[in-house]
């Protein structure tokens, strides 16, 4: 067997795939959040729509976006594979749940949290990405910008006026917060980065990240539902 394939099919190789794709998705979420902060701008959606147009038309960003879709799927399918493999490897579960407080709930339930996030993602992509790709959004033109751009802002404003959409977003983001809280530091541990100099910092950063990013995203549907 080719050495690289052999490595990727080992337990550590599979975990490395989870770690690297996870870190890429963490990077993606950061960019996604910063870009979407433009939804809070009170300009009728101009800044957001122009940004969305740039993000969907720039060839380099398009290339990264397809990589992103691939990494999401790879992370999800590898995660499902590992979870089902581990279930079999555990065999019979103990009759009493281990009460040790050092075992966090999130770390034990990463597959369930991941599944919730995947379900949320399907809904999220269907609502915005698919509708935009299929051309189900109105066009709008702005002074100083050549041609028309898709009015994704309008689509966001309509969606976030529905209570059930807001609730689905909040549930998805709570799952994301727990998933990130374990995932962030776990990605570094898998890479072999566990050191008394860095690990306490990585854990603190992970906690901060897992709070800031989901709260930042959660503010968007809340703001649109109540204040727009």
């Amino acid at each position: 067997m080719n050495w690289f394939i052999k490595f990727l099919s080992s337990s550590i190789g599979r975990k490395l795939i989870m770690s690297l794709t996870g870190l890429f998705l963490i990077l993606f979420l950061t960019v996604h959040l910063i870009g979407n902060l433009q939804l809070f701008k009170d300009d009728g959606g101009q800044a957001f729509n122009v940004y969305a147009h740039f993000m969907t038309s720039n060839p380099l960003i398009k290339f990264i976006a397809y990589g992103n879709y691939f990494f999401i799927l790879l992370h999800a399918f590898m995660g499902i594979y590992i979870a089902s493999y581990n279930r079999k490897a555990k065999g019979q579960q103990p009759a009493v749940t281990n009460p040790n407080v050092r075992i966090t709930w999130a770390s034990k339930n990463m597959p369930i949290l991941g599944g919730l996030i995947l379900a949320f993602l399907l809904m999220h992509m269907g609502d915005f990405w698919l509708k935009m790709k299929l051309g189900n959004v109105n066009m709008v033109s702005y002074a100083g910008i050549e041609g028309e751009v898709k009015n994704l802002y309008e689509r966001v404003a309509i969606s976030f006026k529905e209570l059930w959409v807001v609730i689905v977003y909040l549930v998805g983001l709570v799952a994301l917060a727990f998933h990130l809280n374990h995932g962030f530091q776990s990605a570094f541990q898998t890479l072999g980065i566990n050191h008394r100099k860095y690990t306490p910092l990585i854990k603190k950063l992970g906690l901060l990240y897992s709070l800031i990013v989901p709260i930042g995203f959660a503010l968007m549907p809340i703001y649109y539902y109540f204040f727009r």
Binding site: W3, F7, S10, S11, I12, R14, K15, L16, I82, Y85, N86, K88, A89, K90, G91, Q92, Q93, P94, A95, V96, T97, N98, P99, N100, R102, I103, T104, S107, K108, M110, H182, Q185, S186, Q189, T190, L191, G192, I193, N194, H195, T199
Partner: protein
Amino acid sequence: MDMNLKLKIWRQTNNKSEGHFEMYDVVANEHMSFLEMLDVLNEDLVNQRKQPVAFEHDCREGICGTCSLTINGQPHGPNAGTTACQLHMRFFKDGETITIEPFRAGAFPVVKDLVVDRSALDRVVQAGGFISVNAGQAQDGNAIPIEKERASQSFESAACIGCGACVAACPNGSAMLFTSAKVRHLGLLPQGEVEEEQRVQNMVAQMDKEGFGMCSNIGACEAECPKEIQLYNIAYMNRAYFKAVFSGEE
């Protein structure tokens, strides 16, 4: 002080049969170890001409790694850094019901009652957890000067008694903590360092072959290890594995 305890114990005739829990009453003393309490129960059972509960034990001083009980959901019971044989009954309450199960993992098939087959761990060690050259007698260990800090770090990992509590604690049934402790213990010493590339690859391959699960950094192993082997052992093994695979000489 005497204690009246109710024990809910896993009984299973052999690997082929289905197991089930049975309830027992036992009068123990707070100064007894957990295993001595089970001895009292077994004496009662033998006197009643019933099958005693099979459980593994050897040194009873917390060093051999033979005892393998899951007590109220925790391998080796509720106390941190303690084997079941060193767990005393004073940590339980009078009248308490204690659930006792074997170490649970797919790679540890039940032999009888609370006894499991942990030979998968032996095969992981046989795959590379050794030094191929003759390292001599005990005094020859001092022939190569080793810095104290380094020796202590290696010793931390060498403290692993191979009991398998990490595997039993892991919701994934993973043996990463055990395997990584062996890899780090030998890899940090000059006698073991030279073979690290082959060692880590062979041991990981054998670990996977035995059907142990994949680590997801939950940390249950570290929390339950009676010798308090830490998660950074796993990070060490991952680094050694990446190094061996990507830049190894072979």
